[in-house]
């Protein structure tokens, strides 16, 4: 199970915090600080797994992280998750963000924190991996966004109509997009 998903920037500023296990507010902040402290010390050429943060419990837990440009994506998981599997899940999540925000950068995460949460909800639900197919995730998010564009008009529409919209879009999705390791592009300003 995934216990927490933390995204923070190179300076430790939290950009997205999602806990799937209850921690008190101050504990959460402490976990973020400690995790940042652990992760930020590591070079880019070392492994992406970390063990034994003392806050999110002991030997059973692992931090699996990826570093993209200015952002750290950290998943805190227990032993029931596959290390490499989660590592690729982070990749899927970031690729999805990239697709939804068209060249995602840190600013997108700041100003559209809620949207990032919605995307994440389609990937991980209550600590369990829900969907690993990027196209499927994007489709789900887009169905919801359509609702936004029509200013709630569609939400009142019968369910069949909504699913029709979704089904209409789905088959057109390109398959097997291989983006490779993308780097989140950031404006050519100082690192955020």
């Amino acid at each position: 199970m995934i216990k927490a998903i933390l995204i923070f920037n190179n300076h430790g500023k939290p950009r997205l915090i999602r806990f799937y296990q209850y921690f008190a507010e101050d504990m959460q902040q402490q976990i973020i600080r400690e995790t940042f402290h652990l992760v930020s010390k590591r070079d880019d050429n070392v492994c992406n797994f970390l063990e034994g943060g003392s806050l999110i419990g002991g030997s059973d837990y692992k931090l699996i992280y990826r570093h993209y440009a200015t952002l750290y994506f950290v998943f805190c998981v227990d032993s029931s998750e596959s290390e490499l599997g989660i590592l690729d899940l982070i990749q899927v999540f970031v690729e999805t963000l990239d697709k939804c925000f068209e060249n995602v950068c840190e600013l997108d995460l700041i100003f559209h924190m809620d949207k990032v949460h919605y995307i994440l909800q389609e990937v991980v639900m209550g600590g369990m991996v829900l969907e690993t197919n990027m196209n499927e995730i994007v489709a789900q998010v887009e169905v919801q966004n359509r609702m936004e564009k029509s200013e709630g008009g569609l939400s009142a529409a019968p369910a069949r109509a909504v699913s029709a919209v979704k089904n209409m879009n789905l088959p057109d999705m390109p398959r097997n997009i291989n983006i490779g390791d993308i780097n989140i592009k950031v404006p050519s300003l100082s690192p955020f």
Binding site: G52, A159, F192
Partner: protein, 1152 residues
């Protein structure tokens, strides 16, 4: 650091004005959130940020509570509140509005509301109850998105008690036409299963339906549930193995739609889940494992190494292959795979390769050998995580040969590690290794033991100074225990202690201020206890060194206690006494009461050396401390106080109750309360003069806690026995012992020192070689030494014992030989000890002395006379017939021995038998129906003959002593005293204290409980005859420990929890009964029959048994058939119990 962040953020406003940037372009410039973020970026300090956010929160608060705020505005406000919360500022006022938004909002507003709720609240938050109705409504909605939102929030957090309210609706969703809804419903149910497993029990078949869903996504979701359930109970789902294998086969074979591919690998996450499930199912189950060999093989072949995700699948495959019942072909392939991982240049794969190796070496230590050079390289890897993983691997392959090299590597790592968690973990491992191997090392390399001592002490020094005050407290404890208990060789122990003293003295001469407190405590204890071993060392100089510790600022008061205690032990001779006096004067007025107490002790013991040697004797054997927890030695004092009018003691709860009662109005004038209780007490105490009384009923209280559950006994190993039953104990042996220890000539120790130095220089690791490659190979040779030869491999499995560190002295053996010696030398006849278990007679080897024979002759003759005189005996004979038959063979055998021993004596078979009969007829009525041991003569004094037997009751063991009076006059008040080192002896209260009439028998009953387990226990007694010339005779009665063992009925689950809780254990291989078709069952049934063990369960080649030592002290046994022998592992909370029990198991099996 936040300053830096803020400064870099000042660049943001200029950035935001650039509309060309796609991310920023989506922002409306008037957005309030945008303004807030912009505002924050312009700030320069944390303090200003705080002020701004507080202002922002105040404004949000005002707006949300205004009735005019529309839902749309509310949505925007909520996002701002979320933003503030994520920065760590509390916005609790908005929680209720978030719920309101989720409830009343439409579409997107609802979505924000749900998001805010799931971010703000937790499962236990009371406001969550308000959400239940909303969720209910949305689950029934026709809008799919609303249903999805409700399911998402439910799986994030939902109050446990409210699950039944929505459960039917969620279950219904399992049949929903849309697959996304079904998937989310499955995950929501999984969440319910996690937080309240019993509430979803009834829908297990629906999970099966989900597993068979036509949509692979729903099936994948259901695997989460199955993974969890199978992990908890693999037995229950074995029937699904074939289904999982089929699914995996289809997935691997590419039968899934291409949508499920990820980097052209078919559904990799699904494969990973399935492989995990299969490994749980196939563990220790050959038939199930055979089902999956084929698909595992296919998975291995299909997974081409082209992407990370295929490695993920391979890794799971390898783990699965090594978890399930082994198949050699697959193992070979898996081993090759591990090789690819370990040798991979990609660091993540190397990490996983090491992890896999660590997992695998428990089964196949040779695999580590193949990759030894890679492992050596990993030891020097720049990444600390890789290094640590390598050390973990080395920890698993440690044996007596390579322990030093591995520990050295670990210490190297510890010196550079900065992570607390790693340090604590590794320090524990080093200490474990250092303490685990001493005895084995000594046996194999006897002459290196001095070198070993040095290494051990130095290693522990590093452990203490690096581990500091963070490490587990049991490390210093077990170290001190090891030092004080020692190993099997006295001389070695002395050297070890001497080396510790030398090492600590030199440390104290250095910079003691840098040492952690725990280490200082260890140092002061060792110096206090053993510094006299180094004779040229003046106690005064040690005291001065210790005094320096007291003066240091950072020394904690706990450490000061240790130091003062050490000083108390040391202050001998003029110079040291004056130092001690100085110190004690400083601390005698300390604010800390404990320190003050220690200072007092130091002062008084310093002045009076005689008292000191009595209280703190040197080098007494560490006999387990006898603690009279009933404080019966205070009985006299208490009775005096009671007689003087003191109120009897009441336990606190009783006092509380009475206080509460006292508060109510007493309507009865002049109650009789006090005088009654006082008089009853004073009567009681007059009547308990027996020094044996175990629980002093005197204290007038109702608390009898310490004796009820033996598990509450204090653990006082290593503490000198100072107080005993009689009060202050005078240590008799102490003088002799000290003399003995101090004998070693000063000439010897320097030479040994030289030898130590000599051997130290011979260490194989110290020799440097110029070529680094050669160095590595040498390191490899030393690291993997012993791994290749199968016999000496000693792997530390994960499940391996951690407390099984030191081999204890074989106390059981010693006590047996001691006891036999005593029996043969004592003038008094020894009793024939018969293991009478369920009327099985196991004849203990004992040779009755001539005296005993004559005495038994006397008694038997007398008894014979009695039988003829007393017709009642004949009736009893019939009643007890079964008992007698049981004990008959041993009786005749016994008398045969007698005949062989003394040829000139006539055999007494005929009278012997009626004697036993007639005595057994005197057994008290409540015991006569129970199985009792053979009645054996104890001793005779003038006209009195004493015999005894023991009766096993369910919850106790009763010792019955018969006193026969063969004289013509009645004898009054025979003083009979019983005592035992290992047993608590207490007079059974209702047995009459009577006069022994002429030619009659008096019966005394004592109840026995084990204080300290030993292979055989012995009751020693004295009896004196009040008639004629005063004469006292000693006698003894020996019983095997098995008479105190009773079966303990418990379930496997209870067994499991108890097993983990017990600390004392022992392991041994016993012989199996091989001529039976089912050797394990046969062997266990022998143990069950002979030792009254309860067989809890037998699974395959393993069995678990349980028993209890009277009263209620459990001992658990785990047996496994291994290589034709029975590997037995005993655990108990009682020290020595496992050792004693294993001895009896061994005997029971040998005799069978």
């Amino acid at each position: 650091m936040s300053d830096v962040v803020e400064k870099t953020l000042t660049a943001l406003p200029s950035l935001l004005s650039l509309d060309s940037q796609p991310g920023a372009a989506k922002l409306s410039s008037t957005s309030k959130l945008g303004n807030l973020i912009r505002g924050i970026t312009e700030l320069t300090s944390k303090h200003e940020e705080e002020k701004l956010i507080q202002r922002e929160l105040a404004s949000i608060k005002e707006q949300v509570s205004s009735p005019n705020t529309s839902m749309r505005q509310m949505k925007e406000l909520m996002v701002r509140a979320i933003y503030c919360e994520s920065l760590g500022y509390e916005a609790s006022f908005s929680y209720i509005h978030a719920i309101k938004l989720a409830q009343q909002g439409a579409g997107l507003e609802k979505r924000v509301g749900y998001l805010a709720v799931s971010l703000f609240l937790n499962e236990n938050h009371e406001l969550l109850l308000l959400l239940v109705n909303t969720v209910l409504k949305d689950l029934q909605s026709t809008n799919l998105i609303e249903v999805c939102m409700a399911l998402t929030v439910v799986s994030q957090m939902f109050p446990k008690d409210m699950i039944p309210a929505i459960l039917p609706l969620v279950e219904e969703k399992l049949n929903h036409p849309k697959e996304i809804i079904r998937r989310k419903a499955v995950l929501a149910l999984y969440k319910f299963y996690l937080i309240a497993p019993n509430q979803v029990q009834h829908i297990h078949n629906k999970f099966r339906k989900a597993l068979c869903d036509k949509d692979p996504g729903v099936m994948t979701a259901s695997l989460h549930i199955y993974l969890q359930m199978i992990q908890e109970n693999p037995e229950g789902y074995k029937d699904l193995t074939a289904s999982f294998v089929t699914i995996l086969k289809q997935v691997v074979g590419g039968k899934l739609p291409i949508d499920f591919n990820y980097h052209s690998v078919p559904a990799p996450w699904l494969q990973i889940q399935l492989l995990r499930i299969l490994s749980f199912l196939g563990k220790n189950d050959q038939s199930v494992s055979e089902l999956m060999y084929e698909v595992l093989d296919e998975s291995l072949q299909r997974a081409e190494m082209n992407h990370n995700i295929t490695y993920a699948i391979l890794y799971e495959c390898v783990r699965c292959i090594y978890t399930i019942h082994p198949k050699s072909e697959l193992l070979e392939k898996a081993a090759q795979c591990i090789g690819n991982f370990v040798l991979s240049p990609k660091i993540n794969l190397k990490y996983l390769g090491l992890k896999a190796l660590t997992y695998v070496v428990q089964q196949d230590p040779k695999l580590a050998l193949q990759h030894q050079m890679t492992i050596i390289e990993c030891l020097d890897h720049p990444d600390l995580i890789i290094k640590r993983e390598t050390l973990e691997l080395l920890f698993r392959i440690t044996n007596a040969q390579n322990v030093m090299v591995i520990v050295e590597k670990m210490l190297e790592f510890l010196r550079v590690s900065t992570d607390d968690y790693t340090t604590i973990d590794l320090v524990g491992k080093v200490a474990e290794l250092a303490e685990k191997y001493p005895s084995e090392y000594r046996q194999e390399k006897g002459r290196f033991s001095i070198f070993y001592n040095e290494w051990f002490i130095e290693t522990m020094n590093t452990v203490f100074s690096v581990g500091g005050d963070m490490m587990q407290p049991d490390i210093p404890n077990s170290f001190l225990k090891l030092l004080s208990e020692g190993f099997d060789c006295v001389e070695d122990d002395r050297k070890l202690r001497l080396f510790a003293v030398d090492s600590y003295i030199s440390l104290l001469h250095g910079e003691p201020g840098k040492l952690p407190q725990r280490f200082l405590q260890v140092i002061s204890w060792v110096l206090g206890e053993y510094s006299h071993l180094r004779e040229e060392l003046e106690p005064a100089s040690v005291l001065r060194l210790l005094e320096k510790l007291l003066d240091m600022k950072q020394t904690s008061s706990e450490t000061k206690n240790w130091v003062l205690m050490a000083m108390t032990k040391l202050c001998v001779g003029g110079a040291s006494v004056s130092v001690a006096q100085q110190v004690s004067e400083t601390y005698i007025s300390s604010m800390d009461t404990v320190l003050r107490q220690r200072a007092q002790e130091l002062q008084h013991f310093g002045q009076d050396s005689e008292v000191r040697t009595r209280v703190l004797p040197r080098d007494t054997d560490l006999e387990p401390l006898e603690v009279d927890s009933s404080l019966s030695f205070l009985d006299g004092f208490v009775s005096e106080a009671l007689a003087a009018g003191a109120a009897p003691y009441k336990p606190p709860h009783q006092r509380q109750e009475e206080l509460a009662q006292a508060k109510a109005l007493s309507l009865e004038p002049y109650g009789l309360s006090l005088p009654i209780s006082m008089s009853s007490c004073s009567i009681a105490d007059r009547q308990s003069p027996t020094p044996l009384s175990m629980s002093s009923g005197l204290s007038g209280d109702s608390t009898d806690l310490s004796h009820k559950g033996g598990s509450t006994t204090l653990k006082l190993d290593g503490v000198k026995r100072v107080w005993g039953r009689e009060g202050y104990l005078v240590q008799r042996e102490s003088v002799e012992e000290t003399a003995q220890v101090e004998v070693p000539s000063p000439l010897r120790s320097p030479s040994q020192q030289a030898e130590a130095n000599g051997s130290h220089s011979q260490t194989p690791t110290q020799t440097p070689t110029p070529e680094p490659e050669q160095e590595k190979q040498q390191l490899a040779a030393s690291l993997f030494f012993g791994l290749s030869s199968q016999s000496s491999v000693c792997l530390m499995g994960k499940s391996g014992p951690t407390s099984h560190r030191f081999r204890r002295k074989a106390k059981g053996q010693g006590s047996i030989s001691g006891a036999t010696e005593q029996t043969s030398s004592s003038l008094v006849s020894s009793p024939s000890t018969v293991d009478n278990l369920l009327c099985d007679n196991l004849l203990d080897s004992n040779i009755p002395s001539e005296l005993s024979v004559s005495s038994s002759k006397q008694t038997s003759e007398l008894c014979h006379g009695l039988t003829t005189a007393n017709g009642a005996c004949d009736i009893e004979t019939k009643l007890n017939d079964s008992d007698i038959k049981g004990s008959d063979p041993s009786l005749s055998e016994d008398s045969g021995l007698v005949a062989a021993d003394s040829e000139d004596m006539n055999p007494h078979e005929d009278p012997e038998r009626p004697k036993d009969l007639c005595l057994s007829s005197h057994l008290p009525a409540e015991l006569s129906g129970l199985c009792h041991s053979e009645i054996s003569p104890l001793c005779s004094i003038q006209s009195l003959d004493l015999s005894a037997c023991h009766v096993q009751k369910d919850d106790s063991l009763v010792l019955v002593i018969f006193i026969q009076n063969s004289s013509d006059s009645a004898i009054r008040q025979i003083p009979l005293d019983l005592d035992s080192d290992e047993l608590e002896v207490s007079r059974v209260s209702d047995s009459p204290v009577e006069d022994v009439r002429s030619h009659d028998v008096a019966v005394y009953q004592y109840s026995l409980t084990v204080k300290r387990p030993s292979v055989h226990v012995e009751v020693v007694g004295t009896v004196s005859c009040p008639v004629g010339t005063p004469q006292t005779v000693r006698f003894s009665y020996k019983l095997p420990l098995t008479t105190f063992i009773r079966p303990l009925t418990l379930s496997t689950e209870e067994y499991g929890t108890m097993w983990l809780a017990f600390s004392h254990d022992t392991k041994q291989n016993l012989t199996l009964i091989s001529d039976d078709p089912e050797p394990l069952t046969a062997t266990l049934s022998v143990l069950k029959r002979k030792l009254q063990l309860h067989v809890v369960e037998i699974i395959g080649m393993e069995g678990i048994l349980a028993c209890r030592l009277l009263r209620d002290r459990p001992c658990l046994m785990h047996c496994r058939v291994h290589a034709g022998a029975l590997a037995v592992w005993l655990r108990s909370p009682v020290p020595d119990l496992p050792d004693c029990l294993i001895y009896h198991c061994q005997r029971a099996l040998q005799e069978d």
